[in-house]
């Protein structure tokens, strides 16, 4: 391994823009969503009202966060009609595109932890506290149990995700300390600590999108030159190996792990264009075993 920068090969092969396409799209998505929320309070243009817990777009389209409403339900409260319609729309959306699309394309904490991850790589900070990646599911169970035991949505008192988003729109106050804590934790204590190990919001959405059809697939995995750049940039690198290296074990090329966030960084950073977005159904083990043109591998 040389000391080259991660993604340098991709930039050389595809140009800077080609090697950052999905990253730019993602930042655009995060920015536009936040801007839509901010347009009301800052410029009095009320396209979207509310925040990620519940919002009303153009006074007609309700969108609600199924996780917080589930906690509310467990705490003993049934939402009103609009709240329920909002849950339905959001659940169907993430069932289709993948639950953790919320994490990579919507969540306002993602740029914070991505920045921490990027700095960690640039500053070559090694060493990371070891906590299982399944800790988030324990935390998820704890927040749901707590809602039932206390009869309140206890998690929302401290949830950094809603605290940041609500704070940006309604006034952050001391919420920035929590965001800073998450940033420093990811930078200095645990690599990809918050989003990749602990966040119960992400855990909830990963379960929601477990069977989603839209997936990243290593459709040209035979072309992989083992440069490891995808593992380096991936926030959930454990999801790549089965699909990328599974040809010999009869595993298909589609990344099926629920914790893939569909962020597309692996697509960007691969100089050999191994990865693409695809459908989970194109998952025959023989797919991607030979170096074939992308289009042929994709068609079923």
């Amino acid at each position: 391994m040389s000391s080259k920068r991660t993604g340098a090969e991709a930039v050389a092969a595809k140009g800077w823009f080609g090697a950052h396409r999905w990253l730019l799209a993602r930042r655009l998505s995060q920015g536009v969503i936040l801007a839509l929320f901010l347009l009301g309070p800052l410029a009095a243009v009320w396209i979207v009202k509310g925040n990620l817990a519940y919002s009303l777009t153009l006074e007609t389209l309700p969108l609600s966060d199924p996780y917080v409403l589930l906690q509310s339900l467990i705490a003993g409260n049934v939402p009103e009609r609009l709240g329920l319609i909002g849950v339905l729309i959001v659940v169907v959306f993430y069932l289709l595109v993948g639950g953790r699309v919320y994490c990579a394309w919507v969540c306002p904490v993602n740029p914070v932890t991505d920045l921490a991850g990027w700095l960690r790589r640039r500053l070559a900070i090694k060493g990371s506290a070891h906590v299982s990646r399944s800790a988030r599911y324990w935390l998820l169970a704890m927040t749901l149990a707590l809602a039932g035991l206390t009869g309140t949505i206890a998690w929302e008192l401290v949830n950094p995700v809603s605290m940041l988003h609500r704070g940006l729109i309604f006034g952050l106050g001391a919420g920035w300390t929590v965001v800073l804590a998450v940033f420093l934790f990811d930078l200095l204590v645990m690599s990809r600590g918050w989003c990749g190990h602990l966040c119960p919001v992400g855990a909830f959405y990963s379960l929601l999108g477990k069977w989603s059809p839209l997936r990243v697939t290593a459709s040209r995995r035979a072309a992989c030159n083992d440069c490891m750049d995808c593992f380096e940039v991936c926030p959930e690198p454990q999801v790549i190996r089965p699909a990328l290296k599974g040809a010999g074990k009869g595993v298909g090329p589609v990344i099926l792990a629920a914790n893939c966030t569909n962020c597309g960084r692996c697509i960007d950073v691969c100089s050999k264009d191994v990865f693409t977005f695809g459908m989970r159904f194109d998952n025959r083990p023989e797919n991607g075993t030979q170096t074939v043109p992308k289009t042929a591998a994709d068609s079923n």
Partner: protein, 317 residues
Amino acid sequence: MPTANNHSSRARSPAANTQPLARRQFVLDSARLFCGVGLLGLGLAAYSKQARARPPLAIRPPGASAEDDFLGACIRCGMCVRDCPYNILELARPESPVATGTPYFTARTGPCEMCEDIPCVKACPTGALDHSLTDINASKMGLAVLADQETCLNFLGLRCDVCYRVCPLIDQAITLELRPNTRTGRHAMFIPTVHSERCTGCGKCEKACVTEEASIRVLPAKLVKGSLGEHYRLGWEEKSKAGGHSLVEDKGLIDLPDRLPEGMKLEGHFDPGSDPLPAGMPGNAPANVVPSLPPGLGGPGAPAGAPRGGSPSEAAR
């Protein structure tokens, strides 16, 4: 292919050898996670208990359920904040003592303007603000209390009346009750008096109070509202309910002993210290009679010299 096969077999064989070890590791890891998360949960539960103690001056929007239910229902979306035409509501920030992200207003700086269509309640997607509240005059956001009688100008004998005048339910939620001004001996005091069954807790009185610190304040009802007790009956109310017919006066109930200063005689009153016990009282009854019933209700007989003047209903007043 051969390289891949080699790789997988190499990976599999040590795994097979160390399977009990792996299981042990899994159990240990799980236990560790369970403990860690459990501790976090305990901390969060304790914090959530703290967060239920809402500071008295933070008032929930109209239709808000009791604090415990509210914290289980409100998802902190801020729709009520957005739809309040007077911008009085805000979402609590993490450093505020109000539960993070929940809506509240402060009467002294911006009271509820009592919109007839109650847009904040309509905007709520969870029912944390009760959608069955359609009459803003029936809302119960809190209860106004004339908290400081030392500084209230009307209590000082002046005619300020501002709280009374600004009250959206003037003469119902706040009335002025006349009392003699004993300081001057010749004037009346107009005492602002809050009636809890009509007060909505909108806070306009607190906002309008002219004293430097508000003398009338809106506080959570459970903090200030007394309760008489189920068993209390007010004689004059019972009397009017019974069509002006007293429930006690003609029952010949016993007049209980009054303790008087030594040597003082009050006509018609019984002093156990100096008077002989009347017939039928415990201690003066025939030994074989148990005075289980009071005289007049089938007991041993009415006490001697219990006149109509000191009737019990009078004493209750």
